[in-house]
Amino acid sequence: MAYVAIFITYIFINNFILTQFLGLCPFIGVSKNSESAIGMGMAVTFVMGIASIITWLVYNLLLVPLDLAYLQTLSFILVIAALVQFVEMIIQKNSPALYQALGIFLPLITTNCAVLGIAIMNITEGYTLMESFSAGIAAGIGFTLALVLMSNIRERMDLHPVRKAFKGVPIAFISGGLMALAFMAFDKALLTNLLG
């Protein structure tokens, strides 16, 4: 039950982009067409899941026993940077098709706040290893959901006349704001109603 709650929380209630403001750069930058939005979303979900596990292990098995918790930020970002590089190499070697789809997005992920954000959040929330992994995957799915919705809106908006000053980024922000308003319907009450 706890895992269902984590999934609902990170996909809808605390959606990373629309309520937490994590990962806004790709939300604006990579949402011009839905194909690349799906690619980026999948790559981020994948990295967030693995990064959650590894950063949890690094923190609890390395930093805490050695009394080095203040090195959290430094070690997490190094782990994530190395991980992204590693994932890129493995995908390139073993699955050229997947590399074609995700390749160009992977280098961008190191500086995506969502990945470092979930790693730090797992620690502050005191999750177990499995809970951290679920939170990572769920936050990635929530990120993908918002990104894909946004890209569909922007694809349609290209066909409509928008005032010159609002073209492109400004109207994307305003659509994002309206989407965030809609997402406010998902709140803590939803969780209590669903799970009792």
Binding site: L18, T19, Q20, F21, L22, G23, L24, C25, I28, Y70, L71, Q72, T73, L74, I77, L78, A81, A82, T110, T111, N112, C113, L116, G117, I120, M121, T124, K164, A165, F166, K167, V169, P170, I171, A172, F173, I174, G176, G177, L178, A180, L181, M184
Partner: protein, 209 residues
């Protein structure tokens, strides 16, 4: 020469403002700007990290091998972010609490890595210092502006540092009773950012004629 230096310093204020023109570092821009003091605190932290990482990266630019430059930059930046975190935790605990997760996330703020890659690894130490100050001040001004609008209209207050008998909160009469609550929420931040960006686009188009 002197005018060139001035340009390096001032281009970040308006012409290449990192938030409104280049659209870098958006997450903290919208995430922490519910109160003016948080915007200023975030801005000052970024100025500190940006100036020191720019100085160090431009000093080490001939030593760092090209193939591992990005990880090296990240380590330098993360070290300064950790310093800011510890100093804030000790001396400004309330701002530390309010900034929360966005303080360690300065590491992945695209402005800092962006300036390292685009400016500091090609220019002299002094120019990199000026560039860091300029970009940092531009970022702080943008954050303060957004936080000011959101707090005045959304909550009817302006929160600054408490000093003596002044508790740090200025109340705006009309808006304190009838606040536009949506501006303090996530949705309001995105809407406001959209309108501000549209204003800057309009302004740029007007100047171009």
């Amino acid at each position: 020469m002197a005018t060139e230096r001035m340009q390096v310093l001032t281009k970040g204020f308006f012409k290449e403002n990192p938030v409104f023109i280049i659209l870098l570092g958006l997450c903290p821009t919208l995430g922490v700007t519910t109160q003016v003091i948080n915007g200023i605190g975030m801005g000052l932290s970024v100025i500190f990290v940006l100036v020191f990482s720019n100085i160090f990266i431009s000093m080490l630019k001939n030593i760092i091998p090209n193939s591992v430059r990005i990880p090296s930059y990240i380590v330098i930046i993360a070290a300064f972010v950790t310093i800011v975190e510890m100093v804030m935790h000790a001396f400004a605990p309330s701002i530390y609490q309010a900034l929360g997760i966005f303080l360690p996330l300065i590491v992945v703020n695209c402005i800092i890595l962006g300036r390292a890659e685009a400016f500091a690894n090609k220019n002299t130490v002094f120019d990199s210092f000026l560039d860091g100050v300029g970009m940092g001040v531009g970022f702080t001004m943008a954050l303060t502006l957004i936080a000011f609008i959101r707090e005045v209209f959304g909550a009817g207050t302006i929160t600054l540092v408490p000093m003596g008998s002044f508790d740090g909160v200025i109340e705006i009469p009309l808006f304190y009773t009838y606040p536009v609550r949506v501006l303090t929420l996530a949705a309001g931040a995105l809407l406001l950012m959209g309108y501000l960006k549209a204003f800057f686009e309009w302004n740029a188009n007007r100047k171009r004629g």
